[in-house]
């Protein structure tokens, strides 16, 4: 299924932004592809393959969040070696860590909306279909998610600091 292979790079990109960690992200994509095959009989001809795959990935992600919430969370703080994907012109490791941290702070439903539209360039209709919500709901999650992310990233307050000297 060539169409599935075509979607892998963008599924990986989305998963990486969603879960942060490289191997967890690829596991998620792999689960998604396997699930897609086992559900292939449910795919209707003419359906948007991209939306279909992202929907499966989204549902897997949501259930893994639920599972993980029941376990104590151990988050690796510093990964030591820079990500092999790092290269010139890309964000520095520190900036990446800050962005990943900020994304992690977002409520999952807002995070998905921000990423599907902002990173994956989906239409609002596609993104809403992936998340299984009405377009209006998507729009407001998107807006709130963006506000929150902005506050987290630009969390620097512009208080005027006097120096006693």
């Amino acid at each position: 299924m060539a169409q599935m292979i075509e979607q892998i790079p963008s599924l990986r990109r989305y998963a990486r932004a969603l879960v942060g960690d490289r191997s967890r992200a690829d596991d998620l994509v792999q689960d998604c592809l396997e699930r897609a095959w086992s559900r292939a009989h449910l795919f209707r001809p003419g359906e948007d393959v991209r939306v279909w795959l992202f929907t499966i990935l989204h549902n897997l992600h949501v259930s893994s969040i639920r599972r993980r919430r029941r376990q104590p969370r151990l988050v690796p703080l510093v990964d030591g070696a820079p990500d092999p994907a790092m290269r010139e012109g890309q964000e520095s490791a520190a900036e990446m860590a800050d962005l990943a941290w900020a994304l992690e702070q977002l409520p999952p439903d807002q995070c998905s909306a921000v990423l599907l539209v902002g990173l994956e360039d989906m239409t609002y209709r596609q993104a809403a279909a992936v998340l299984g919500i009405p377009v209006g709901t998507l729009m407001s999650r998107l807006y709130r998610g963006r506000q929150r992310l902005r506050a987290l990233i630009e969390g620097e307050v512009s208080v005027h600091l006097k120096r006693a000297k």
Binding site: P9, A36, A93, A94, A97, S140, V157
Partner: protein, 260 residues
């Protein structure tokens, strides 16, 4: 929002940022933004977010696809996952090591000295606060009554002279301090308490290799608020289980006191 702009909604702002407006509507929203500075700033910030997300993650979609994923897409089933994952990890390690070699000393130093980012620094501070501030028996290693010794000891251990800022004008009194381990070496923590037993902590490091200074920022870790700033190799973080604004007032006094 004034009546003249009643037709403009949050959705328009989203659509404007994502380039999903027809030209007429786009012009209308642009006119609205020209007249509303806050919303214009918000739109600009949203656009920067989109750009930043792409900049950060686009490289992932350019990476070669792991063979296991291609197989999964073709057959839906793959060889046992543990196997390829181990291979993948070995490959990643080789690439990472090669990358380190190429990037040379700078990046290595960056990776070795200091937290990976400012948020990491704030997280360390919050963790230290959560562990020691609630302790009613041994909150500090050296009490404020032995201040001279405390200052000399902490300065020697973190490798830079420290002072014990006076926070009495905001109602907090020094009760002492301690060393806190970090992955890179010791950090110092000073603890203060007010009349009602509320404690705040000042977390200090002097070994940061941060490329940029950070002005006041707020972070929140569980119930702990942290105001922090980085000044060259020095990092300061004030943590407390109290209201952000209240903590900010103390942080401002502190900032003047340390006058770094």
């Amino acid at each position: 929002m004034s009546d003249a702009w009643r037709d403009i909604s949050e959705d328009d702002l989203n659509r404007f940022v994502d380039g999903r407006l027809v030209p007429e509507r786009r012009a209308r929203v642009a006119a609205y933004l020209a007249a509303h500075a806050d919303q214009a700033q918000e739109a600009a910030a949203f656009a920067r977010l989109n750009a930043r997300l792409r900049k950060a993650f686009d490289a992932v979609s350019d990476e070669p696809i792991p063979p296991a994923l291609v197989q999964a897409a073709i057959r839906g089933r793959t060889c046992p996952r543990r196997h390829w994952r181990r291979l993948g990890r070995a490959a990643a390690l080789v690439i990472a090591v090669a990358g380190l070699g190429i990037a040379g000393g700078w990046q290595l130093r960056e990776a070795v000295n200091g937290p990976a980012s400012w948020s990491e620094f704030a997280r360390e501070a919050a963790a230290a606060h959560r562990v020691f501030a609630p302790d009613r028996q041994f909150p500090v290693e050296l009490p404020a009554t032995r201040k001279a010794q405390l200052v000399a000891w902490l300065s020697a251990r973190i490798g830079a002279p420290i002072t014990t800022p006076n926070l009495e004008k905001v109602g907090f009194r020094l009760i002492g301090g301690r060393l806190v381990p970090t992955p890179d070496g010791p950090a110092a923590q000073l603890m203060y308490e007010n009349g009602s037993g509320t404690r705040i902590t000042l977390y200090l490091r002097a070994d940061l290799r941060n490329s940029r200074d950070i002005k006041f920022r707020i972070a929140r870790e569980n119930e702990v608020n942290v105001w922090y700033w980085l000044d060259g190799p020095r990092g300061y973080a004030l943590s407390g289980d109290i209201d952000q604004q209240q903590l900010l007032r103390i942080a401002e006094v502190l900032y003047d006191e340390v006058g770094s």
